[in-house]
Symmetry: C2
Subunit: 306 residues, 2 copies
């Protein structure tokens, strides 16, 4: 009887065994071939120009997510926006670098408790490689936890976490701290399935129960300014099914932003103005429609966390 029963179950077992793992799109309740996009503005809180351009872009509905740098001086301005717009999809852009030379910031926690994160002037290091090479993971945990606590104290309810300049993806020890803090906070992190081959430890966040996206799309300095809209329009035409996050950097090309990014055209003031112009344009709206791309948010992804 047992043998018969087992045989009778076999076809079912085989079907289950062949059934592919559900994609993130499917886990969110969308068809497997749905093209889902998060339009995500980084670096909120750095400068008034960044806050003002991003808030303006949020108002178009075409940019629908962003993340905040709590150590930066313009945090109170974007925190006020977050309190007034509790539905906004705002995460935290955990920050361990201070990359501009004329304008800098340091930690949220007391400096003497996170000395491994600071340069001789008491600011975060200029580069993610210096930051990662020198950071004591315990001090990183203290600092990023303090950043999350400061955000919550100011009334921000973060929907997700990511890492400014990718510092927390630079080595296994930092990535483990990042995941541990995110899991304890029950917040999704920016990790893409497409990154799996980049470093073995990224697979720590790519288990079937984890919440991740399929890929990140971002522009880079090889694209000439006049080709900005074409780069994004082409990428949207070729967008693969699943969850893509397009990571953008918005600001106005004004005196403040020119001062922040002085001598640094990459991710500079006119770069950010070009991103602002494309992602608030009718051309972008049309590309979303023509390519049947649906906008989703980190808030939806966060609901998958058990």
């Amino acid at each position: 009887m047992l043998a018969v029963a087992v045989l009778a179950l076999l076809p079912f077992v085989q079907v289950r065994g062949q059934e592919p793992t559900k994609t993130i799109a499917e886990r969110l309740g969308y068809p497997r071939d749905a093209k889902l996009l998060i339009v995500h503005a980084d670096d909120l809180g750095v400068a008034h120009s960044v806050n003002a351009a991003t808030i303006k872009a949020f108002e178009t509905g075409l940019v629908n997510s962003g993340s905040i740098m709590t150590p930066c001086p313009w945090l109170p301005e974007i925190a006020a926006y977050a309190r007034a717009n509790p539905q906004a999809d705002l995460g935290l852009h955990l920050t361990l670098t201070s990359e501009w030379t004329s304008f800098r910031w340091g930690p949220v926690s007391p400096k003497d408790r996170v000395a491994s994160l600071l340069d001789k002037d008491g600011y975060f290091y200029l580069t993610e490689s210096d930051a990662a090479a020198k950071a004591d993971p315990k001090q990183v945990e203290l600092e990023i936890t303090a950043q999350i606590e400061r955000a919550r104290a100011l009334g921000i309810q973060p929907t997700h976490l990511d890492s400014h300049m990718g510092t927390l993806y630079q080595n296994r020890a930092l990535f483990e701290v990042f995941l541990r803090v995110a899991r304890s906070q029950k917040l999704p992190v920016r990790v893409a399935k497409a990154w799996a081959g980049r470093a073995d430890y990224l697979s720590l966040a790519l288990n079937p129960d984890d919440v991740y996206i399929d890929r990140v799309l971002d522009i880079n300095p090889t694209v000439a300014p006049q080709d900005w809209a074409k780069f994004y329009t082409d990428a949207l035409k070729k967008l693969e099914p699943g969850v893509t996050e397009v990571v953008i950097h918005l600001a106005h090309d004004d005196a403040e932003m020119q001062g922040v990014t002085v001598n640094h055209p990459d991710w500079g003031a006119s770069w950010r103005q070009r991103d602002f112009e494309f992602f608030t344009s009718d051309a972008f709206r049309k590309a979303l429609q023509e390519n049947q791309i649906k906008l989703i948010t980190w808030r939806e992804l966060g609901k998958l966390i058990k």
Copy 2:
């Protein structure tokens, strides 16, 4: 013999007794009736707009002194200017308040060592009265010393010290800390003889050997925008002999400064633009000439310190 000797000395003693104390102008080597003026821009380092407008004003030669807020994010930009222009008359605007609501800053020293200086969000208090009421003088000494050390570490050689929003003049304990630190650094402080009646402890800095100025001139919110130039021109016409410091606040009326000073017209963006326009104008240059006013700096005053 003794009585005769004493009598013989009396006329000399009397003459010495009647001889007026040398004025600061005379100690500097100018005639007693010279009209000497320091044109001093406050708040360097707060914002790019402040730095840019003040540097532009320095280049005219009509604004010839300023002071820097080392806890503020744009410190590195003005420190680079100081290193490139070692002759510039730059002091430190010691900072224990963070008065704008959208944009804030905290201490140079570790937060857990200066907790009495910080509000619940970890920033300096918004007002000088809150700051003064809550500050532990020992923590003030630690913090203002750290501010001076950070400035020197960045290559700023301060010529003088003053106090942002006057916090260090709010009570005797803070003023004593301010004087002790200034004397140990052999730097002159902004103290005016004309302030003597305001608080008895100010006399601690007004001894014959101390270096002080005669008076401070500054505009206030009762002056209508259209009367800006008239206020200053009239004040220059009536300028008394001795050393006057006109304390001004320069910035451009741009998006950044409007963001910093949002909902606060007093000392706001257009206020600072008006100061910039008057103090870089031909009208100001002419007023200096017509009223025979000579510009001097804190560097000259500092040379009187023994």
